[in-house]
Subunit: 358 residues, 2 copies
DNA sequence: CTGAAAGCGCTTACAG
DNA sequence: CTGAAAGCGCTTACAG
């Protein structure tokens, strides 16, 4: 067998630069030969298999370290019938959310042999399920993490199960088995926002909620109502308007709300984007935040702490959530810090809320 | 050979759910058998190899379509000695930038068999080069795209060349062979900003530049100076201060600038983040934008069109840049729309600039 | 224009 | 505790 150390120059495939001479990559066979064992035994130590004699294991580990060997992911994947790819599949439009979650997952993947593959998608595309399905079948993923709102899609979850692909869904409600979920207790943060406004003395309060199709928008509304009711307050039907989680819809909704004869003294927006729209609407009709109108957001995006006045909002530790999700995939249910699979967003009080003027 | 259509139940590897029955995946062998040819011939049509008889090709293509067959990426990767992974390696901290570029690359990868793997990194980490090097050696990437400032690191580029990995560097200056570069003509946008301010009548103008270590910060400064000089204006040394491309540094620099006896009437910030810091500094000392001080940013992040007053800034089509980079990798130099490998950012005039008050 | 053989670098299933 | 054989699903190198 011609497993010589030197490859002839014409082994170049044409994909590379002519004359580029790859240093011959060391393989499991080389390690095995040097250790005087079979490659199967080397494979065992690579995969932390149960039973290898300590001395053999040590010798092999030393060799692996000395030659800086690490097994080829492609070959492993082929033999394992499973790639070393973790996919993040998402439709969330917020860059900050996406980037933070990617970081969190990556934090958890560091040191594992997995890489993070990203897959943004559009749930409204006609071929949405076909695309995702093809992707899942093809890649034989090591795992997938699904933030909202894809996480809320039971069909996707089923495709994943069908393909035998582990996954973690991130959502504000329990919509799958616990070991496949990270629960974000958004109702809690929303309730805090309600209490904060109630304590400041607000009585006429409005809410711009997110779309019907997002579970989070229900949870935020529910939590907010719960918090208010502790103070004997409640949201009247026409003090709840539907926004689309965007700047523009936040603006439009606020215009409606602020034009009412009995104008609210505080508005809780379903997310920061919409809260910024409220700022704009207030400005336009000469209202000052927070003197004339208090505003609370949700998410704590970077804009919240850069705009004037700084926005009071509910902070979700997205990166931590991503980390937990990644750990759950890489280490299994016991991996995620003692089985912690829920996260509680907290209110951050800044400048956009004050006692009502009247 | 027991390549039966039915796999026994105990073929389950333990990685999956017990009893989970994977539908037997169709392989190149199945297609070959059904087409009555060798698998090598099927391989040829998969890879668009030159010479396959038209009728044979058609028959195979029909079969592929009928059975919705697509070759296993892991197996292909192993045989090709090259994975189907395109990596985006970056240290840019701006979420909007990152997300847009990811989208652009993904746009270009759609339809290819490549997936996008992301690799954020910290150039200041002690093991920075080791990490990247290991990553590159291990993954046998199909290609890599490097936005600033990793793109400016010649050592990384060399590691990539060494590993025979195609790459595209995105930068404001020509720092590699043309087919390995997307050039962003940032000096052009900065010059436009200068002309805009000069035409408004500003004479006392300051610039908060980015860090020495970013090529872009030099280019933006240079372009700005060029634009000013067309009007016989120039930046005095102490009207140029060093920021760090962050909100905080923008604020600090603006405080210095605005405290000067001869206060500037306009400030060109090296990016939007710093421009927001200028807003804050101005607000603090009772200055109104743009009545008392005009502000221009660079990047056109989403905040620019959400904050009051809307920020005049230079828009870079990041997603387009990512698309070009992706195309360059997937289709080679001729792939990127007729060899277009440069992008020109343009000024977007909004509300933060006006004629000086004096 | 097409195929048989060998191989990519690992792991599984089975023995011992 | 360890190994020889077969195989994962493709492609390369070589023939014809």
């Amino acid at each position: 067998m011609a497993s010589s150390d030197e490859k002839p120059d014409d082994s170049d495939t044409g994909l590379g630069r002519p004359g580029a001479r790859r240093k011959p990559k060391i393989t499991i066979n080389d390690i095995a030969r040097m250790a005087g064992v079979s490659k199967k035994t080397v494979s065992r130590v690579i995969n932390d298999a149960a039973t290898v004699k300590a001395s053999t294991r040590d010798k092999i580990k030393a060799l692996i370290k000395e030659y800086d060997f690490s097994p080829d992911p492609q070959a492993r994947a082929l033999a394992f019938r499973r790639s070393f790819l973790v996919a993040m599949i998402y439709d969330n439009p917020s860059p900050q959310y996406i980037v933070n979650m990617q970081r969190g997952i990556l934090d958890a993947l560091a040191g594992s042999s997995c890489q993070l593959v990203i897959r943004p998608c559009d749930r409204n595309a006609p071929d949405f399920y076909d695309m995702i399905s093809e992707f899942i079948e093809q890649q034989r993923l090591f795992g997938a993490v699904l933030p909202p709102s894809v996480s809320e899609d039971d069909h996707i979850a089923e495709m994943l199960r069908e393909a035998d692909c582990p996954y973690v869904r991130i959502a504000s409600v329990e919509l799958d088995e616990p070991h496949r979920m990270i629960r974000t207790r958004e109702a809690h943060g929303a309730a805090e926002a309600a209490r904060h406004l109630a304590r400041l003395g607000h009585r006429r309060i409005a809410h711009i909620r997110g779309p019907e199709s997002f579970r989070s928008s229900h949870e935020r509304l529910r939590g907010f109502q719960d918090g208010l009711s502790e103070f004997g307050l409640h949201l009247k039907d026409d003090d709840i308007v539907f926004g689309g989680y965007t700047y523009e819809t936040g603006y439009e909704c606020a215009r409606l709300l602020l034009a009412k004869p009995e104008r609210p003294t505080a508005i809780f927006a379903g997310n920061d984007e919409m809260a910024l729209g409220v700022y704009k609407a207030a400005r336009e009709i000469g209202l000052t935040v927070p003197a004339d109108i208090s505003v609370v957001g949700f998410d704590d995006t970077p804009i919240a702490s850069r705009i004037a006045p700084y926005l009071t909002t509910v902070h979700s530790p997205i990166r931590d959530i991503g980390y937990l999700a990644g750990k759950l995939l890489v280490e299994g249910p016991k991996g995620a810090k003692g089985g912690l699979t829920s996260i509680t967003p907290e209110l951050v009080v800044r400048e956009s809320t004050a006692a009502p003027a009247f």
